[in-house]
């Protein structure tokens, strides 16, 4: 039995063993092993030269990583929590993402920026943002977000090996999810979506923390509505596996995007637009979105209003222009 945290930890360790240019640093990643223990034991095994704590300064952490990358290192830095990554945004958007272009490829930035993200953990303010859309909109960056234990290992290894910079979003809520697998895990590479549950009536397009939710909703839809629901796990937002989205929607003719990120100008809007543009003649209903609300992420007692739920997904599925209206079983 392996947890997602263990898979991520093993991915870091294996990458460091395989490539001496991989260095890990950030806040509390050394002696403590990270607040989520993702870097547990790395300083002990690889020494403080390869895994170390830094001052509490996210912009400095990413900025120093840029300089190290200019010297051929492969830094993997941790931002600790989604909202704490914002001070580094200028470094990420103006330098990590652009240095390759500004130097015509003479300088590469093979940096991985790990961002534990998303809600559903009862966190206080600034601990539950879904900011992946902000990064997905910056040319030059790749954006990954695993939903399974195997993907956590495989996508992180790929991110570290990637010559392009990757912002790696780790769903906090799934850190303690488990799988009966052996490490090192195997899975398809990045840039490819995976069908987690095949279906013929409608496609739920989702990623990261919302994948288990979508699977739960799909099961409920089958039980309560008799719908055959496909669940497509996108796995990476950049690059986005457009072909798999187009293929699935063309087959089912209906789709709902499920994300924790707010709806307005968010990843769900991009995915819905893509499906409309490419699958217009296959669609029996408009693509719908079930997302976080367009409000600051609320405190624990209120987060059930904010987060996509099985209930909201089922209600949206019911609303997809079916030829014969459904009545939900009790």
């Amino acid at each position: 039995m392996v947890t997602m945290v263990q898979a991520l930890n093993r991915a870091l360790g294996d990458a460091m063993r395989a490539d001496p240019s991989v260095v890990v640093f950030g806040e509390d990643v050394g002696t403590l092993g990270g607040v989520f223990r993702v870097t547990d034991g790395l300083t002990k095994e690889f020494g403080p030269d390869r895994c170390f704590d830094t001052p509490l300064a996210e912009s400095g952490i990413v900025g120093v990583a840029v300089g190290m990358a200019m010297q051929g290192l492969r830094p993997v830095v941790e931002m600790q929590f989604d909202a704490f990554a914002y001070p580094a945004f200028e470094q990420v958007a103006s330098h990590v993402a652009k240095l390759r272009n500004r130097t015509r490829g003479a300088v590469q930035t093979p940096i991985v920026i790990r961002v534990p993200y998303g809600g559903g953990i009862g966190g206080v303010e600034h601990h539950s943002d879904s900011s992946e859309g902000l990064y997905a909109q910056v040319p030059g960056l790749k954006v990954s977000t695993p939903a399974t234990v195997s993907d956590a290992y495989v996508l992180l290894r790929e991110a570290i090996a990637d010559p392009d910079p990757v912002v790696f979003f780790e769903p906090k809520r799934l850190y303690w999810s488990t799988a009966e697998i052996d490490l090192p895990a195997s899975a398809p590479g990045s840039g490819r979506a995976e069908i987690r549950r095949p279906g013929s009536d409608v496609t739920l397009m989702t990623y990261g923390p919302s994948v288990p939710l979508a699977l739960e909703a799909a099961d409920a839809a089958t039980a309560e509505l008799g719908l055959d629901v496909e669940v497509l796990d996108l796995r990476t937002l950049v690059p986005l596996d457009e072909a798999s989205i187009i293929d699935s929607i063309s087959r089912t003719g209906r789709g709902v995007v499920v994300t924790e990120a707010p709806s307005f100008a968010g990843p769900a809007a991009e995915i819905a637009a893509l499906a409309h543009e490419h699958c217009f003649y296959s669609l029996a209903a408009p693509i719908r979105r079930v997302t976080g609300l367009d409000i600051p992420y609320p405190p624990p007692a209120y987060e059930h209003h904010y987060l996509p739920s099985v209930e909201r997904i089922l209600d949206t599925l019911l609303d997809l222009e079916w030829e014969e209206p459904f009545t939900r079983a009790a």
Binding site: V62, M70, Q71, T103, G105, A106, L240, E242
Partner: protein, 367 residues
């Protein structure tokens, strides 16, 4: 990380800069009293003649680039007129393995570092890239977002040190840049981890229209070093003898002690922020006149002529060399920037997403 044994200079007094800027020359280029020199020795004639040569070339380069900006050959040009001692002193202090981290105002320093003068103007000409190879030249792309390159300098010098290489990074920043968070974060990281970076603040007193008094209430920008446990030094930035002496020492110190140094060079931005700016809206011409009398190029020239190290033939030779460089950039920038649309897609990613390739195909088809 440093161990406690590595902490060489942590006593406050040893980290503090002198209460007034270190200087060797008065405004007329005469050697001033020894007690103003901060204990630094006068550089050799050979070093100062090389400094003079590059300062004269730099001045001519700056004049030509300013003219080319007015003619529309450059998209924009931020002049460093009046800052030649820093532009040259900062580069000549470095060894060939060391790194330079310049800002958009430091194009002269690129030329001193040996970058082709036409290539050095790529960015300001309106190219999408910096023109030169930063790794081959050990010069980072000129940085536009203020102070954001300072942590990069720390990362580069740190990574080199990990490999046991003897590399110092020299990072230029302006007085405005010292107000940015990355200035603080870079100095802090460099100090905590013992990274050999010389942070050279060219305090030219103006950040576009905002004067120094609105950037800081500190007694000097150099005095900020002590807050990080970083040695601070304050120098008359228009005195090329003092700048040369101090920066050579700062690089030596950073290399030997594996520690950062913060040097504030007090200078003045003689021209407007760029050719697109109108400095009459925020400063008096009389202020510029005061600084005109402290011109670093003529000050060093007077000194070297007075000591007999520099004769008219040398001055003429440098003028001739400067003129041919000006001609070269005029010729080199005569044509328009005409790159194919393909180029702006070519280096965004090592492995570009399909979507990017589709956009590229669309743009190429429309070209």
């Amino acid at each position: 990380m440093r161990t406690s044994a590595d902490h060489h200079e942590t006593s406050t007094t040893r980290l503090l800069p002198s209460p007034v800027p270190v200087r060797f020359l008065d405004e007329d280029g005469r050697l001033g009293p020894e007690d103003e020199r901060g204990g630094f020795a006068i550089p050799t004639d050979e070093a100062l003649l090389e400094t003079y040569r590059w300062m004269a070339i730099g001045r001519r380069f700056d004049t030509e680039a300013s003219a080319l900006a007015r003619q529309g050959r450059l998209a924009v040009y931020p002049s460093s007129r009046g800052q030649e001692a820093c532009q040259v002193g900062g580069v000549l202090a470095l060894g060939s393995e060391d790194w330079l981290f310049p800002t958009y105002r430091d194009t002269v320093s690129l030329v001193v570092r040996g970058i082709d003068p036409v290539e050095s103007l790529s960015l300001l000409r309106g190219e999408w890239h910096c023109g030169y190879d930063p790794v081959a030249s050990r010069v980072a792309p000129q940085c536009t977002p203020l102070a954001t390159h300072l942590p990069h300098a720390v990362g580069v010098a740190w990574a080199a040190r990990r490999r046991g290489e003897d590399v110092v990074a020299m990072a230029f920043v302006g007085d405005g840049g010292t107000s940015e968070g990355d200035f603080h974060e870079a100095l802090n990281f460099a100090a905590v981890f013992g990274v050999p970076v010389v942070f050279l603040v060219q305090n030219n007193r103006w950040a576009i229209s905002v004067p120094l008094e609105i950037q800081t209430h500190a007694p000097s920008l150099a005095s900020k070093g002590v807050g990080y446990g970083v040695r601070g030094e304050w120098v008359d930035g228009n005195d090329a003898v003092a700048v040369t002496a101090m920066l050579a020492d700062a690089v030596r110190y950073a290399r030997a002690e594996r520690a950062p140094v913060l040097v504030e060079a007090l200078t003045y931005r003689m021209a407007a922020h760029t050719n697109a700016d109108d400095d009459r809206r925020y400063r008096e011409a009389s202020e510029v006149d005061v600084w005109q009398r402290r011109d670093p190029v003529s000050r060093l020239e007077s000194y070297l002529v007075n000591t007999g190290a520099l004769v008219q033939d040398d001055i003429d030779a440098v003028a001739k060399e400067s003129e041919s460089l000006a001609e070269r950039i005029r010729d080199g920038l005569a044509g328009d920037v005409r790159e194919g649309a393909d180029d702006v897609f070519a280096h965004v990613y090592a492995h570009p997403p399909e979507r990017l390739m589709r956009q590229r195909a669309d743009v190429l088809a429309a070209e």
